[in-house]
């Protein structure tokens, strides 16, 4: 199996790629939990005017009937008015697209943004919805039965890991 790319390096590269696109109406939102970590890196690197927003999509998931409510939903916090903004929606791994669907729905309950672009640290095969990332740090092959996850060490260092799906 090929070694996974370094998450910190991917963040830096993503920030560099995004820098030319940041304008006065840009704002960034990270999806709990992994997407929020990546968004914190990007937001700091890009020096954006609006504070960073956070979304927890627990209340918008489409598997509530099967799995129930997530155990510890975080509070969604968007400290700016989304109306008219060009939003950069940040997640760690793009897989089925369902999380992004839920996040977009939730965003529209805050207002009508001018645009939403999807930024992910990594993407893999397995889309179940017509969703694609405008900015992806890497494309990673993941074998069936495996999951690609972003982890954060106690020192705050981000890394990508593969683990077996239980």
């Amino acid at each position: 199996m090929a070694a996974l790319p370094d998450a910190e390096a991917l963040c830096a590269a993503l920030a560099a790629a995004l820098a030319p696109r940041i304008g006065p109406t840009s704002a960034m939102i990270g999806i709990h939990t992994g997407g929020a970590w990546v968004a914190e890196r990007l937001h700091a690197a890009l020096g954006m005017r609006e504070p960073l927003g956070f979304l927890d999509i627990a209340f918008y998931r489409d598997d509530y009937d099967r799995k129930g409510l997530a155990r510890d939903p975080k509070r969604s916090k968007i400290p700016f008015d989304v109306a008219g903004k060009d939003l950069l929606l940040v997640d760690d791994v793009l897989y089925t697209g369902r999380t992004v669907r839920a996040a977009i729905n939730e965003l529209f309950d805050y207002g009508r943004p001018a645009s939403i672009s999807l930024v992910v640290l990594a993407e893999r095969d397995g889309r179940q919805l017509p969703i694609c990332a405008q900015h992806a740090g890497a494309r990673i092959e993941v074998a069936a039965g495996m999951r690609l996850r972003l982890k954060r060490s106690e020192q705050g260092r981000l890394s990508l890991e593969l683990e077996r799906v239980a």
Partner: protein, 317 residues
């Protein structure tokens, strides 16, 4: 030991019948979830799609517009369909039994029954007879429990005091008849509040109250001293004069919360009341509307707490 009928085999919340018997972790989980919903209630669009397509039946065998309304708002903010049934005047007066009423409603594809009943334990009876995918939330049964009120009181206390481990909480008034007091007391002892006091004349304190883990005080002077939280209970009109109390005035003089008596508590004490208040009986207006009062925030938090409870019981397979 009997299995707790509120929890499913995995220990998750199946029904909410009482605060008593809920493990500490579950109580904290409810409060944390309510915290997230509090964020939703601060938005312009105060609605999430979680319970879309689900039906919440408000089954009120005993009238209470206030409580029913807060459940209705909570259910609607979760996108559920809400059906209000004032059963007090419909079925039961025609002699239909409680279980027949529930069976009938169940045939209309209910997901959640919110039940208010004058008899202690009625929601347990209903919970024993509903189908596995139906959930019962107790909205107050007799003198027994009012768990969502208890939880919103806990939420309020945590919001203002952060931590339960050093708190002195005084619960004042008609403890004997109060389901609110029972639910709050169980919650406080489960979450580790070191000192919970109940204050009232002997006639309004139930037998064996100490077994609930509280200290019984008969004077405000003793009971309010250095309290962090003062919870005033509603005194029902019919109990203001008779064999339990001679008069509302005398009750007010000894147990009504006045600014003078509140001064016995800590300087940053909060004052709570489950409503509706009898101003001038259990609480004076200048206290109810004063800087220590968190009575209105309680109402707001109540919606988030009820959203949390409904979404925790109704999800999953």
């Amino acid at each position: 030991m009997l299995r707790n009928p509120q929890l499913n085999a995995k220990g998750e919340l199946q029904h909410l019948l009482s605060v008593e018997g809920l493990p500490r972790e579950l109580l904290v989980q409810i409060l944390d979830t309510a915290e997230s919903f509090a964020g939703v209630t601060e938005r312009d669009i105060k609605k999430v799609p979680l319970l879309r397509g689900k039906s919440v039946f408000n089954l009120f065998f005993e009238g209470s517009t206030r409580t029913r309304t807060t459940f209705e708002i909570a259910a609607k903010r979760l996108s559920a369909d809400v059906i209000n049934l004032n059963v007090a005047v419909s079925s039961t007066s025609k002699g239909e039994s409680l279980l027949d009423t529930v069976a009938n409603l169940s045939a209309m594809q209910a997901d959640i029954f919110v039940v208010r009943h004058g008899s202690s334990g009625a929601p347990y009876l209903i919970a024993r007879h509903v189908k596995p995918h139906e959930h019962v939330i107790n909205a107050g049964d007799g003198r027994h429990a009012h768990p969502t009120q208890g939880l919103l009181d806990l939420f309020t206390i945590r919001h203002y005091k952060k931590d339960f481990s050093r708190l002195t909480v005084a619960v004042v008034g008609d403890v004997l008849h109060s389901r609110v007091a029972r639910s709050l007391i169980h919650g406080l002892t489960t979450l580790g509040a070191p000192e919970v006091r109940v204050i009232g004349p002997q006639t309004l304190i139930p037998a064996g109250a100490a077994a609930l883990g509280v200290r019984v005080c008969h004077s405000m002077k003793e009971g309010l001293k250095d309290a962090d939280v003062v919870v005033m209970l509603r005194l029902q009109n019919e109990r203001m004069s008779g064999t339990l109390l001679p008069s509302a005035q005398e009750f007010n003089k000894h147990y009504g919360l006045t600014a003078d008596k509140l001064a016995l508590a800590k300087a940053d004490a909060i004052v709570m009341h489950p409503g509706p208040m009898n101003r001038g009986v259990e609480i004076d207006s200048n206290v109810a509307d004063g800087p220590h009062s968190v009575i209105l925030p309680q109402v707001t938090f109540g919606i988030a707490v009820r959203m949390a409870v409904m979404s925790m019981v109704a999800g999953g397979g």
